[in-house]
C-alpha cells in the first residue's frame, strides 16, 4: 500500500525474491509519492552514486515497475479498510474493490504536523500552510502562496522551502526555530538560507499570529534553555504567509484498523524489529515505519521489507 519510494522498492524486492502476484496500490494518479514534489537535488547519492532530484529518483523506479510483469499497479486507489485477516478494501474511480492478501506491506508514508499541534496563539487568517503543502502548491500547481513569508521550524522541508520561495521572488523574512540547532542537514542551512541571506533565529518562537482575513504579521520572541519567553526580547515581523515545518507523523491508521499495536508518541508500529508490525503477515516500511531523513535509506530498508514478506510467504 503506497506507491512512493518505500512501496516501489518493497514491491520490486518482493518480486525479485520470487513473489508471484503483487498488487501495488497508490492513491495519486502517478507513482512516486512525495518525491514528485521534491524537485530539489540531493537524492540518490548513496543508492545510485549520483545526485538526482526527487522526480528523477522516482522515475528510475517507475521505469523498473513498468518492465515488471508480475506487479500490478493500481493508481487512484485509496485503501479504506484492512482487517487482521488481511482483507483489503479500496476505492478506485467507479468501484469499491475487495481483495485478500497473504502478506501486506504498509508503505503509507507520513502526514505533516500542523500549526494546531504546536499551539501558536493568535487569529486564524488565510496564509498559514504546512511547508510540505506549500511545496506541492509551488512545485506542482504553480501557485505562489504569498509575497512575504516567515517559516516556523528549521527541518529540511522548511529550509528547502525557504530557498524555493526565495527563488520564486517571495521575500523570506526568516526561519524561526525554538531549538538551539537545526533538525535539518547542515548543507541545507548553508545552501538554502546562507546563500539567500535568510536569517535563522535559534531559540526563538512565534508567540502570536496577527491578521483578520489574511496574515498581517507575527510576533517573535526569544526563549531561554527551558523554552520560556525572555521578557523584552520580542519583535514583530510583517508578513502575509507563515509556513509551518514542525515534523511528520507516520500514517498508520490502516495498521490500527487491523489491530496492530501503535506507539502513541511517534505513531509508529510497535514490533520486534525494523519493518515488522504486531500483526502476522503485515509489514511496514519507509516513513510509515519511522521518519527518515534520506530517501536512499528508505529504498534500502523497504527492499528488505519486500524480502521479509517474500520469506514469510515461503514459510507459510
Amino acid at each position: 500500500m503506497g506507491g512512493g519510494p518505500a512501496g516501489m522498492a518493497a514491491a520490486l524486492a518482493a518480486r525479485a525474491a520470487g513473489v508471484q502476484d503483487i498488487l501495488l496500490l497508490e492513491r495519486d494518479q502517478h507513482l512516486g509519492g512525495i518525491l514528485n514534489q521534491c524537485i530539489h537535488p540531493g537524492f540518490g547519492l548513496h543508492h545510485f552514486k549520483e545526485e538526482l532530484t526527487g522526480p528523477e529518483y522516482a522515475d528510475r523506479f517507475v521505469r523498473l515497475l513498468k518492465e515488471e510483469q508480475g506487479i500490478e499497479v493500481s493508481l487512484r486507489s485509496f485503501v479504506v479498510k484492512l482487517t487482521p485477516g488481511r482483507e483489503i478494501s479500496y476505492f478506485r474511480p467507479g468501484a469499491l474493490e475487495e481483495v485478500r492478501a497473504r502478506a501486506v506491506i504498509l508503505a503509507t508514508g507520513c502526514r505533516e504536523r500542523t500549526r494546531e499541534m504546536i499551539q501558536i496563539p493568535g487569529s486564524r487568517p488565510a496564509g498559514i500552510y504546512p511547508a510540505g503543502l506549500a511545496q506541492k502548491m509551488v512545485n506542482m500547481e504553480g501557485w505562489i502562496p504569498g509575497r512575504e513569508a516567515v517559516i516556523v521550524g528549521s527541518g529540511d522541508i522548511g529550509l528547502i522551502m525557504a530557498r524555493r520561495m526565495a527563488l520564486e521572488g517571495v521575500k523570506v523574512k526568516g526561519v524561526v526555530e525554538i531549538q538551539k540547532t537545526s533538525r535539518g542537514l547542515v548543507r541545507n542551512v548553508v545552501q538554502c538560507l546562507e546563500d539567500f541571506g535568510i536569517p535563522l533565529y535559534f531559540r526563538h518562537r512565534i508567540s502570536r499570529i496577527h491578521g483578520a482575513d489574511r496574515v498581517e504579521k507575527v510576533d517573535v520572541v526569544r526563549v531561554d534553555d527551558n523554552l520560556k519567553d525572555i521578557p523584552g526580547s520580542g519583535f514583530e515581523v510583517p508578513c502575509d504567509t507563515v509556513l509551518v515545518s514542525v515534523g511528520l507523523i507516520p500514517e498508520n491508521e490502516l495498521l490500527e484498523m487491523a489491530g496492530g499495536e501503535i506507539d502513541r508518541a511517534a505513531n509508529t508500529p510497535v514490533a520486534a524489529g525494523v519493518n515488522l508490525t504486531s500483526v502476522p503477515g503485515v509489514f511496514a516500511c519507509g516513513n510509515a515505519c519511522k521518519v527518515y531523513d534520506l530517501v536512499d535509506w528508505v529504498t534500502r530498508d523497504s527492499a528488505l521489507a519486500g524480502r521479509m514478506a517474500a520469506e514469510y510467504l515461503e514459510k507459510k
Binding site: 524537485i39 537535488p41 522515475d59 506542482m140 545552501q191
Partner: protein, 120 residues
C-alpha cells in the same frame, strides 16, 4: 587568510578549513572525500549551484514540469535564470532527461526535464 565553510556536496556536510590567498586556494582540510577539496576550490574561485525549478505546461497531464540545469551555473546568475525560466511553457510531451531549452542564457548549460510528461 583562513576560511571555514560547510561542504554542500552531500548530506554529510563536512566542515572545511581553507587556507586561501584571495581567490587562490592554498590548502583544504576537514573533508571526508575528494569532492570536498573540489567544492572548496570552486566555492572560493566562483561559487556554482545547480538550479532546479518547475516550468508551466500547456495541455499536458501535469500543470508543472520539474526541470534542472544540466550542470551547475554561477550562483549570482540564479535569479536571472529563474526570470528566464518563467517565460517558458512546455506544451508537448517529453521524456525524463529531455532538453527543454538549449544553451540557456548562453551559460553553456541546458535546461533538462526531470520526469516524463504525457498529454492530458
Amino acid at each position: 587568510m583562513k576560511r571555514v565553510m560547510t561542504c554542500i556536496e552531500c548530506p554529510q556536510g563536512c566542515r572545511l578549513e581553507i587556507e586561501a590567498d584571495g581567490r587562490r586556494v592554498l590548502s583544504v582540510a576537514g573533508q571526508k572525500c575528494k569532492r570536498g577539496d573540489k567544492y572548496a576550490r570552486q566555492e572560493i574561485e566562483a561559487p556554482m549551484r545547480t538550479l532546479t525549478t518547475s516550468v508551466l505546461t500547456g495541455g499536458l497531464e501535469l500543470k508543472m514540469l520539474p526541470v534542472r540545469t544540466s550542470k551547475p551555473i554561477p550562483k549570482e546568475k540564479l535569479f536571472e535564470t529563474m526570470a528566464a525560466v518563467k517565460r517558458i511553457v512546455v506544451s508537448s510531451p517529453v521524456k525524463a532527461g529531455a532538453v527543454v531549452a538549449t544553451d540557456f542564457l548562453g551559460l553553456g548549460v541546458d535546461l533538462v526535464a526531470c520526469r516524463s510528461i504525457d498529454k492530458k
